[in-house]
Structure formats: structure tokens, C-alpha cells
């Protein structure tokens, strides 16, 4: 059991970063071209994607999910977390 927990924690280690946030990432140059798709300006995309504004720079991603005012965006963010949670539960069975 102890081994199961340790291995699961190691495997899901990257996920903890969404709680820590991206202040560290902001100091690391984002790889890729200069013209990054930071914010989708297309109206029809907004309900499905979270748009990051300047004021959100450095905000932990987990908080970022709940910052947007649109209910549908919040719902999408919650759904994303739920899927990740289910994956963690499945992982415990796999390990």
C-alpha cells in the first residue's frame, strides 16, 4: 500500500504544479515563437477556453480556472479538474 501511494504521487507530480501556479514559469521564457496564442479573441471560442488576461499573469492555474466570470468557463474548468481526479483514481488501480 505504501509503495502504491509513493509511486502514484511520483507519477502525478507534474499535476501539483497547477496548485503552485505559474509565477516560476513567468520567469522562464516560454518556448516557441514570439507570437504566442495567449488569449483567444474569437468570440465563439470563449465559452470553451479560458482566456488569460494580463491581470491573471502569475496566478496559480487552479485559481485561474475559477477567476473567469462566465459560468460555462467555470464549468469547463471544473470538468477538467474532475477528469484529472478520475485519472488519479484510475492510476491508483493501475499501480
Amino acid at each position: 500500500m505504501y509503495k502504491k501511494i509513493v509511486i502514484t504521487l511520483i507519477v502525478i507530480l507534474p499535476l501539483f504544479y497547477i496548485f503552485v501556479g505559474y509565477p516560476i514559469a513567468q520567469r522562464i521564457p516560454v518556448t516557441g515563437t514570439a507570437n504566442s496564442l495567449r488569449c483567444f479573441s474569437v468570440d465563439s471560442l470563449k465559452p470553451f477556453f479560458m482566456c488569460s488576461h494580463d491581470k491573471l499573469q502569475g496566478v496559480p492555474f487552479i485559481k485561474h480556472i475559477f477567476v473567469e466570470m462566465n459560468d460555462l468557463q467555470n464549468g469547463f474548468g471544473i470538468l477538467f479538474l474532475l477528469v484529472i481526479f478520475i485519472q488519479i483514481l484510475l492510476l491508483v488501480s493501475i499501480v
Partner: protein
């Protein structure tokens, strides 16, 4: 296995949603090809590729996906307006630079797009519905890939480890999501391998094998490596010379027959059975033959990028992990492939034969193709990882074989490590590469 399969399904779903529209190489032009096909018209290849992705004079402003900004998302609102007003617009000849590709994948995707249009989905929903075509090919590939693995390893832990490494590779996931014929070639190649492994080699079974290879070729020209692969496989089966000739003739004839409609279509439109120079993107030029060795060496060296892409090069190959991650990944990936490749030569089972020769033929094909482009057409781009996805399963098998050599055949341990590492790396790419690139 059911739990693992569900995990893979959820992993695919997350990537499917998180990966933004048109963030796959050439996805805008592939989508446009699908769009015109859904309207009952296969687009023309533009005459002049120096014009910025001309989609047909009158519709360029609506489908102007690749703007001066790097790969900006096209305006779906404009596409929606075009869809509403297309009856009033004189569209001339719709074009797409991807229209030199054969049509099978585009037809499948167009069916889904058309369905989404009939049930009045908005343009964004139509786009995601179209992406489902790639999803269908992806899950189909996984089914046949596991069947191949059942022929390779008796140890279930190792089988699962290889399977998860294959299914959750970030590049493979992206190609399985984006609108592009690459995943269709992978699917039909996997089916081709399965047929050869499970069916006895005789004239009657050569027919479905030939049909599969033919349909694979009708997805993308790179499937051409299946032709010499089949003939080579016959030699290894130690058949009589007469049987080899008979089976080869039947196989090649069936492949040729499947290509005839496409050849005729090109002959009518472009007066050539296979589009060449336009597809290459440049025109031929006379060069000194001394450039050939240079071009070959440059191509071989450039192929390091091809393998590098499997470390998580997403987007238009402009979204990737930090170098401290992708360089060691690539080095170990290539190292274990080489070890596994040479060790596999000592084996004579069917999977090993197919793996070895599929890798040899496809890489040789691309080496020749790319050297030709570099030397005679002054082309600047290189073969991407997605182009060698049809041999990704053999490459993963070589990696596992390399690990078995290195770890003295501790199959259960290797299998578990492959599962844990693949899932860890999937999460790593999601959280540290994909999400920061597009959402933070």
C-alpha cells in the same frame, strides 16, 4: 486492461479539448480540404505557392488561417458568415495546398463535417466534430496495435507497458487529434501488419492485404513503403519462388487497381497521375552533383529533429519542453532504438521482420525524398516526427528490446516502468508545455 483503456481514453479526451484549433502542422489547409470535400468538391492545388496560402480568390478572406501572425486561429465568425452567404459568392476554383494528398481521410472527415452541418452545429462545434475522424482512426489503431503486441510478448506487464508508451506519446496524441491524414496512414499500416501476422500468406489472403495497402496509399503517399515490405515479408516466409512471384503480382495489382481512380482524377485535372513539383512546394533547379553528398548528410543530420519531436514537440513544432528535458529524451530514445534495432536482427519471427523492414524502407524513402528536396528544390523544411508515425509502433518495440538488453530481460519491471514513465510524461507535457503555451 479495461482500467488502462479507460485511462487512455480520458487522457486523449483531455488533450482533445486542451489542444486549440489549428495548432497542428498544416491543420488549416487540411481542414479547408475537408470543408470543400464536404461540399462535394475536391479543391485544386494552387498554381503558385508563393502567394500566401491562397484558398481561392474569393474565399481567401474567409479562410485566411495562416496570417502574418504565427498561426493565428482563423476567425470562426467569418467562416460562419461565409457558410451563410456562399450561395451568393462566386467562388471560382477552391484551392488547398494539401489537395495533392489522396482523399480517403478527407472523405471520412467530410462525412462528419457534413453531419455536423446538417444538425446545425456552429462552426466551432463543426471543427471539433471533424476532429473526431482522427479520434476514430486513433482508437482503431490502438485495437490493432494491441493485437500486434499479443504476438510479440507473452508477459502481460511488458505488453501493457509498450502499449501505454505507444498510446500516450504526446506527438502521437496530437496527431490523433489534429485534422490530418497522418493518423489514417498509421491506422491502415497497423491493420496491414495485423493481417500479415494473423492470416496465412496465400493468394486468397493477399487480396485483403493488398486492399489495405492500397487504401493506406490513398491516405498519403508515404504508405508506399508497404509495397516493398510485403514482398520482403514473402521472402522471409521461405515460400517457393513461384509463390512469391504470384503473391507479389496479385498484391501489386490490387494496390494498383485501388490507385486507378486517383490517378485518373489527377490526369484529368493536372495531366499527371501523381502530383510532384507542386507538392514539393518549389520548382526544380539545376545543381552540381557535388551537392548530393552534402544534401544527404544534411538530411541525415536533420532527422535528429524527426526523433526529437517524439519528446513532446506540439503545436507547429514550436511548442516543446525545455532543452534539459527533450535532449536527454531524444538521446535515450535514439540510443535504445539503435540497440533494439540491431538486436532484433538476430530474431526471425514475423513481428521482428515487419518491424525491421518497415523502419528501413520508410526511413530510406524519406532520406531519398528529403535529399531530393534539399539538393534539387532548395527546400528548407525537414521531415517531422508525424511523418514517421506509421513506424512508431516498431520504434517503440525496438526501445523495449533495447531496455530488455540493458536491464537483462526483467520484463515485468520494464513493463511497469514504461507505464509509470509514460503517464508521468503525459502529465508533464500537459502541465508544463501544453497549458502554459496556450492558456497562461
Amino acid at each position: 486492461m479495461k482500467i488502462l483503456s479507460f485511462f487512455i481514453f480520458l487522457s486523449y479526451l483531455v488533450f482533445f479539448i486542451v489542444l486549440p484549433p489549428f495548432q497542428n502542422p498544416d491543420e488549416p489547409s487540411h481542414y479547408e480540404t475537408v470543408y470543400w470535400t464536404s461540399q462535394g468538391f475536391y479543391p485544386y492545388i494552387p498554381n503558385n505557392l508563393t502567394t500566401p496560402l491562397s484558398y481561392g480568390r474569393n474565399v481567401e478572406k474567409y479562410f485566411d488561417a495562416t496570417t502574418k501572425d504565427s498561426y493565428a486561429i482563423p476567425p470562426f465568425s467569418k467562416i460562419a458568415k461565409f457558410s451563410q452567404n456562399s450561395g451568393k459568392i462566386s467562388i471560382g476554383k477552391p484551392t488547398s495546398i494539401q489537395a495533392y494528398n489522396p482523399p480517403v481521410y478527407y472523405i471520412v472527415a467530410a462525412i462528419l463535417l457534413r453531419l455536423s452541418q446538417l444538425i446545425k452545429m456552429n462552426p466551432l462545434q463543426q471543427f471539433y466534430m471533424t476532429r473526431l475522424a482522427s479520434g476514430l482512426f486513433y482508437f482503431g489503431t490502438l485495437v490493432f496495435a494491441y493485437k500486434i503486441l499479443q504476438k510479440v510478448h507473452r508477459d502481460e506487464a511488458l505488453r501493457k507497458g509498450i502499449f501505454v508508451s505507444f498510446a500516450l506519446n504526446p506527438l502521437f496524441l496530437q496527431s490523433a487529434i489534429g485534422i490530418s491524414p497522418d493518423i489514417a496512414v498509421v491506422f491502415f499500416t497497423t491493420v496491414f501488419f495485423c493481417l500479415l501476422l494473423y492470416l496465412p500468406v496465400k493468394l486468397q489472403t493477399t487480396i485483403p492485404v493488398g486492399l489495405t495497402a492500397g487504401v493506406a496509399l490513398l491516405c498519403k503517399i508515404s504508405a508506399i513503403f508497404l509495397l516493398p515490405l510485403f514482398v520482403t515479408f514473402l521472402f522471409y516466409k521461405k515460400m517457393a519462388g513461384k509463390e512469391i512471384i504470384q503473391n507479389s503480382i496479385v498484391f501489386l495489382s490490387i494496390v494498383f487497381i485501388t490507385q486507378v481512380p486517383w490517378f485518373l482524377f489527377n490526369m484529368i485535372r493536372y495531366h499527371t497521375p501523381v502530383v510532384s513539383d507542386i507538392a514539393l512546394g518549389t520548382t526544380s533547379q539545376k545543381v552540381s552533383l557535388m551537392r548530393i553528398p552534402y544534401g544527404f548528410i544534411a538530411t541525415v543530420w536533420g532527422m535528429r529533429h524527426t526523433f526529437m519531436h517524439f519528446s513532446g514537440f506540439l503545436g507547429w513544432n514550436n511548442v516543446f519542453p525545455f532543452s534539459i528535458i527533450f535532449i536527454p529524451f531524444t538521446v535515450f530514445f535514439i540510443l535504445f532504438i539503435i540497440i533494439g534495432f540491431f538486436h532484433t536482427f538476430s530474431k526471425h519471427d514475423d513481428v521482428s521482420i515487419l518491424s525491421l523492414w518497415s523502419v528501413i524502407y520508410l526511413l530510406v524513402f524519406f532520406l531519398i525524398f528529403e535529399t531530393d528536396r534539399v539538393v534539387f528544390h532548395n527546400a528548407g523544411w525537414e521531415i517531422g516526427g508525424r511523418n514517421i508515425l506509421p513506424i512508431f509502433m516498431p520504434l517503440v518495440l525496438f526501445v523495449s528490446e533495447g531496455l530488455r538488453m540493458f536491464l537483462r530481460k526483467k520484463d515485468i519491471l520494464i513493463g511497469k516502468v514504461l507505464i509509470y514513465f509514460s503517464i508521468f510524461y503525459y502529465f508533464f507535457i500537459l502541465i508544463f508545455v501544453l497549458i502554459p503555451r496556450y492558456y497562461v
